[in-house]
Amino acid sequence: MIDFSILIDNWDTYLEGFKNTIFASLIGLVGSFVIGVIVAVMRIAPIKPLNWIGTVYVEFIRNIPLLIIAFFFYVGLPAIGVTLPGFVAGTIALSIYTASFIAEAIRAGIQSVPKGQMEAARSSGLTYLQAMRLIILPQAIKIVIPPIGNQFINLVKNSSILGMIAGLDLMYFGDIVSSHTFVTFDVYIFVALFYLVLTIPLSLGVGYLEKRLARSH
């Protein structure tokens, strides 16, 4: 049988990690969404230099491993005098990385709204930003919700990267418990369960939204 005493004896440790994983995910969720929206707008705005910056951001960030970004913020930045704790460095890296995927999803969503609508809105006197905010974005949101939801599930899973830079998350504390108790199998099973407690409801939610939005089209 699986040894539940591992879970009970180290409950506080697990919980501390679980809490920090939730925090990192929530902050990452907000952070990546905000950056993602900004980058998406840059990519489609009618200003060439902004397009370039947006494109470079998306293409570069999503083609390199998250681990490099996390190490960069943790041990790279101190070289120029900025020292961030593992949790902060990891959460920033998560936000920046996930944002590149969210930006792509948003761009695809916005571009799926017929161009004529933007032109019509502009000719009726709205500024570009107003047209974007009032006409285009509300429509695009529906299309982009499922892919963004999937990115958030990825974000929760990817938050385990914090374990490699002493980010005090679930992965980190699971590792500590296992190296102090000399038990691996049971310890990791419990770590997995904690992650599934977060990701399975998210998957269910995204699946549900996907179905509903698909029907409404």
Binding site: E59, F60, N63, I64, P65, L66, L67, I68, F71, F72, V75, G76, A79, I153, K157, N158, S159, S160, I161, G163, M164, M171, G174, D175, S178, V183, T184, F185, V187, Y188, I189, V191, A192, Y195, L196, T199, I200, S203
Partner: protein, 216 residues
């Protein structure tokens, strides 16, 4: 910063060795997970009583677990139940298990996108269900799946870097050994590692886009 010191010929060769390991591990895992992914995805799609349900449960469980944990588990926990794997095999197994589950969903999505009317037509013209799947549905679905599959392969290539935790001598691992010597190496080494990943993955994504536009 010490660019010349960080990027000496010996260091670059050492990095290249690591990069070859990354490519090698990624390639084998890609081939294996492609096969397993198609198998699992089809099984889930086919709605066979019990079997499809079990496959669905396995896929969902793996997809919702962090890869880092799967790598840990494969190398550190499996020995406790008598399954002992070398670092290389553990790395390939963990990547294959995770990516197969991701690919299985792409495959299922691709199969679902094929008009059900075609299946009925094929069946009524005398083909068996398996024949219909194999000759009619799969070839069309595969064509539609290619872009997401290539994206998944890009992910796999990036994910290989996580195997640094079991001391697989891949790209990131060798990079760490170099920059551990001297803090002034950190920036140049990070830059080179990121650039290499970018070049390979960007080329792959261009291929994916090309295939996508061909279909449209």
């Amino acid at each position: 910063m010490d660019i010349a010191g960080a990027l000496s010929a010996d260091h670059l060769k050492f990095l290249a060795d690591g990069f070859m390991v990354t490519l090698y591990i990624a390639f084998i895992s890609i081939v294996l997970s492609f096969i397993v992914g198609i198998l699992l995805g089809t099984l889930r799609y086919a709605k066979i009583p019990v079997v499809s349900k079990i496959v669905a449960v396995i896929i969902e469980t793996i997809r919702n677990t962090p890869l880092l944990l799967i790598i840990f588990f494969t190398f550190f926990a499996l020995p406790e139940v008598g399954i002992k794997l070398s670092v290389t095999v553990a790395a390939i197994l963990a990547l294959t298990v995770f990516e197969s589950a991701m690919l299985a969903e792409i495959v299922r999505g691709g199969l679902n996108s094929i008009d059900k009317g075609q299946i009925e037509a094929a069946r009524s013209s005398g083909l068996t269900y398996i024949q219909t799947l194999w000759h009619i549905v799969m070839p069309q679905a595969l064509r539609r799946m290619i872009p997401p599959i290539v994206s998944q392969f890009i992910s796999l290539l990036k994910d290989t870097s996580l195997c640094v935790i079991i001391a697989l001598p891949e790209f990131m691992h060798n990079a760490q050994i170099i920059y551990a010597q001297n803090v002034n190496y950190i920036f140049p080494i990070f830059f080179v590692v990121a650039l290499m990943y970018f070049i390979v993955n960007y080329c792959l994504s261009l291929i994916a886009r090309r295939l996508e536009s061909k279909q449209a």
